[in-house]
C-alpha cells in the first residue's frame, strides 16, 4: 500500500529549495551567496528521494511520516508562495551595531568628482583616517531608510555572515532632508556632517544630504557595496 505523505513532504521541501536558489535570488534574503549551490544540491537530493519513495513504497509497507514532519509544511509553502522579504529597518533599529575593523591604510580618493563609498568605508574614513581626506568632498552612499524615533533617519545596511539570524547593522545618520518611507532603498549624495574631529572616534558618522534618489533593492541585500 502506498503512503503518499512522506514523498509529498520531501517534494515540497526540495521544490522550495530549488525555487529560491535556481529561479531568482530569493535565497539571498536569508543566506549568503556561497551556500547557494549547496542549497540547490540539497533540493535536488530531496526531490530524488521523493521520486524513489514513490517507486519503492509502491511494493510494500509504506510508512506514514513522523508527526513532527508536518512542521516542514509552513516554511516550505511560504518559500514557494509568499517568500518573506529581506530584513530591513525593523531589525536595523534594534540590532547590535557592526564593529568596523581597523583599516591598515586608506587608498587615496580620486582627485575630483563625487566619492562612491560603502557604509563600511565611509564609517572607517570618518572615524579612523588621520589624513581627513573626506573633508570638503562630496560623498555618495546607498542603503535603506531606517526612521528614528526623534523624527530623524538613518541610512542603514545589514551585514550577515552566515544567515539572517546573525545580522548586524551599519548606520549613517542623515541630516537636512525629510525621511522617505521606511525600508526604501536610496542613494544619497552629500558631505560629512561636521561634528567632532574628523578622523577620530569623536567624529559623527553622519552626512548632510544634498540630494536623494530611490533605487531598487539590490540583489544581494546583505553585502555592503559602494553605489554604482
Amino acid at each position: 500500500m502506498k503512503h503518499p505523505v512522506p514523498a509529498v513532504l520531501l517534494l515540497l521541501v526540495g521544490a522550495a529549495l530549488l525555487r529560491i536558489t535556481l529561479f531568482g535570488d530569493v535565497a539571498l534574503r536569508y543566506v549568503q551567496e556561497p551556500l547557494r549551490p549547496y542549497l540547490a544540491v540539497t533540493g535536488a537530493v530531496l526531490i530524488l528521494a521523493a521520486a524513489l519513495s514513490r517507486v519503492r513504497d509502491g511494493r510494500g509497507d509504506g510508512h506514514g511520516p513522523p508527526r513532527t514532519a508536518w512542521l516542514l509544511v509552513p516554511p516550505a509553502l511560504a518559500l514557494l508562495c509568499w517568500a518573506p522579504p529581506a530584513l530591513g529597518s525593523y531589525t536595523a533599529a534594534r540590532n547590535n551595531p557592526k564593529i568596523v575593523a581597523d583599516y591598515d591604510h586608506f587608498d587615496p580618493l580620486p582627485t575630483h568628482g563625487a566619492v562612491h563609498l560603502s557604509l563600511t568605508e565611509f564609517t572607517a574614513r570618518v572615524q579612523q583616517e588621520e589624513a581627513q581626506s573626506l573633508r570638503g568632498r562630496t560623498v555618495v552612499l546607498s542603503g535603506f531608510v531606517t526612521p528614528r524615533t526623534d523624527g530623524a533617519w538613518d541610512l542603514s545596511r545589514l551585514l550577515v555572515s552566515c544567515c539572517a539570524a546573525d545580522s548586524q547593522s551599519l548606520t549613517v545618520r542623515m541630516h537636512g532632508i525629510h525621511s522617505p518611507a521606511a525600508d526604501t532603498w536610496v542613494t544619497v549624495t552629500g558631505t560629512w556632517h561636521p561634528s567632532g574631529t574628523l578622523g577620530t572616534t569623536s567624529a559623527a558618522v553622519a552626512l548632510n544630504v544634498d540630494s536623494l534618489q530611490r533605487i531598487p533593492e539590490p540583489k544581494r541585500p546583505y553585502v555592503d557595496r559602494p553605489p554604482a
Partner: protein
C-alpha cells in the same frame, strides 16, 4: 505548531499491524489539509493578513525561514552520512577505531569531532547512527558536542572575527574540547540508557534486507523527523531573536559573572550556527572576553534548535537533562579557560 494538532492522522497511519490500515486513513490527510485551509481562510478574514504584514512579524518570518534554510544542507548531509553509516558500515569498524575502554574512547571521540566540518544540525543524526552501530553512547555524545565546536571552519572564522587575538581561538578550542570530554565522562558515570528513546538502541543493517533500501528509508525517516524538529527550534529561536530587545541584555553587561551567564543564555536563545557565532560574539563589545568565549562555547553545544533536534532524535527526557548539564559544564569550562588565557 498547531499543524501538529490539527492533523491527527499520522500516528494512526503508523501503527496498525494486524489488519492493515483502515480505509479512512488515506483520506484523513486530505480532510486535515482541507480543515487547515478552512481555518486559514477564516483567520485571513479576521485580520490575519494585516497581522502577518506587521514589520516585527515579517522579521520573525524571515529569521525563521533563514535558520531553516541555512541548516537544510547540513541536516541533509548529516542524515545522508548517518543513513550510510547505519546501512553500510559494519559495527566492528568502530570497535577497531575506538579504544576498548569507554573512558579512553571519550577523549578520542572529542578530538575526532575535528573531522566533521559541519554545523550542529549534521552532528545529531550522525551521533545517533554511531550509537546504533554499537559505539558507546558516551563517546558518541562527546563527538556530538565537539564536532560543531572545534572543526577547522569554525576555528578559522573565529580567528577572522577576532583579528590579533589568537588566544581567543586557543581558548575556544580548549574550552570546547574540555566540555565535550567532560560530558562524555559524565554520561559514562551517571547516564542511563532508559533516558534514550528506544529507537536509538536499534541496530542498523538487518540480514537479508537490501542495504540501499535501508539507506533510503533511514534517510527519509531521519530527515523528515529531524526536519520537523528543526523548524520547531527555528520558530523558538526566531521568537527570541526578534522580540527580545538587545538593550535588556546590554544593561546586564557590567557584572563579570552575570555577563558570562547572560551571553551563555543569549547563545542558547539565538541559535546562530557555529560557523557564524564568532562574528556575533565579536560584535558584543560591551562584554568581557570571557563572556564572549562563553557565548562561543555554549552556542554550538546548546541552543533551542539543537535541543529540539535532540528531543526528536534521542527523546525529550534525554534532551532536557543533557542540554542542562552541557550548559553548566560549558559555562564553567569557558569561565576557567577565560580566566587562564584571556
Amino acid at each position: 505548531m498547531h499543524q501538529d494538532d490539527t492533523v491527527p492522522t499520522a500516528p494512526l497511519a503508523h501503527d496498525d499491524p494486524v489488519d492493515g490500515r483502515p480505509r479512512t486513513s488515506r483520506s484523513l490527510p486530505l480532510v486535515g489539509a482541507l480543515s487547515v485551509l478552512l481555518l486559514l481562510a477564516l483567520a485571513w478574514a479576521t485580520g490575519l493578513g494585516a497581522w502577518l504584514a506587521r514589520p516585527d512579524v515579517r522579521a520573525w518570518q524571515t529569521v525563521c525561514v533563514a535558520i531553516t534554510v541555512q541548516a537544510m544542507p547540513f541536516l541533509v548531509l548529516g542524515t545522508l552520512v548517518s543513513g550510510a553509516v547505519a546501512a553500510f558500515v559494519p559495527a566492528h569498524v568502530f570497535q577497531r577505531l575506538l579504544p576498548r575502554r569507554p573512558a579512553l574512547a571519550v577523549p578520542v571521540a572529542s578530538v575526532a569531532g575535528v573531522a566533521l566540518p559541519g554545523c550542529e544540525c549534521a552532528s545529531v543524526p550522525v551521533a545517533n547512527s554511531l550509537i546504533r552501530r554499537g559505539v558507546t553512547p558516551s563517546a558518541a555524545f562527546a563527538f556530538l558536542l565537539s564536532a560543531p565546536a572545534v572543526n577547522p571552519i569554525v576555528l578559522t572564522s573565529t580567528a577572522v572575527a577576532f583579528p590579533g587575538s589568537p588566544r581567543m581561538v586557543a581558548a575556544r578550542l580548549i574550552a570546547s574540547l574540555a566540555t565535550s570530554a567532560v560530558m562524555g565522562w559524565l554520561w559514562l558515570r551517571f547516564g542511563r540508557a532508559q533516558w534514550l528513546r528506544p529507537a536509538v538502541r536499534h541496530t542498523g543493517h538487518q540480514p537479508g534486507a537490501s542495504r540501499w533500501e535501508e539507506f533510503r528509508q533511514g534517510f527519509q525517516h531521519d530527515f523528515l523527523h529531524a526536519g520537523g524538529y528543526l523548524v520547531l527550534g527555528a520558530f523558538a529561536a526566531a521568537t527570541f531573536n526578534v522580540f527580545v530587545p538587545r538593550s535588556v541584555l546590554d544593561s546586564l553587561s557590567t557584572s563579570p559573572w552575570l555577563s558570562v551567564l547572560v551571553l551563555a543564555l543569549l547563545a542558547v536563545v539565538l541559535a546562530v550556527c557555529s560557523e557564524a557565532d564568532a562574528f556575533v560574539a565579536a560584535s558584543l563589545t560591551g562584554f568581557s572576553p570571557t563572556a564572549r568565549l562563553a557565548f562561543m562555547v555554549v552556542g554550538p553545544m546548546v541552543d533551542l534548535k539543537l535541543m529540539a533536534l535532540q528531543a526528536g532524535t534521542f527523546g525529550k527526557s534525554f534532551a532536557l537533562r543533557f542540554s542542562a548539564a552541557t550548559a553548566v559544564v560549558a559555562v564553567i569550562s569557558a569561565a576557567v579557560t577565560g580566566w587562564w588565557l584571556l
